[in-house]
Amino acid sequence: MNELVFIALATLMFILMIALAVMVIRSKDLIKAAILLSGVSLIASFVFVLLRAPDVAMAEASIGSALTAIILVFAIKKTNRFEEGGEEK
């Protein structure tokens, strides 16, 4: 792969990942945060493919973006959906 394309893709992915991570921390709705977190993992799995680690990418894609999100959602359903002072949206 061309070096320039590699740098451009990596930069784009890291910008997206950090933006999603900041949104995870800032959002008051926990279910929204869980879904954004699975987005972070999905992009991380793409970065693993860029780093020539297809095994790790497969594990990250299925664990990070499917199972972690679903376990978080089950836990949120047993507790509060909103952070304190966040229900007015």
Partner: protein
Amino acid sequence: MNGLALVFYGGILLLIAVGIWGILSRRNLIKVIMAITIIATGVNLLLVSVGYISGRAAPIVGGDTGIDASSTTGSVVDPIPQALVLTAIVIGLATTALALVAAVGYYRKTGSLELKSWSYGLTNEKEVKK
């Protein structure tokens, strides 16, 4: 230090910094667990990127990949960090689940997920119980 190192190490460390900011500034337990998951993702990326070597293929030989099984030295990236991270990801899910169950237990005990002070669940238990 070249441009690629700047992008990868800088991006990964900023991701870890976002996670640390989340742990330090949020009081919701589930949000703290999410921040820990972000840090775990960043650390996994850091480990794999240390093992990356420019211009080499994934560590799979033979078959469609076109890499001869007898000359793997010098043509594929380092497989050890990848093996390490593979197990780290799987364990990360189990520990996240354990932490979440602990958070649910805290909610059942105090009626809230917010961490007012570190001794909240222990000292004020009788007054808060609904």
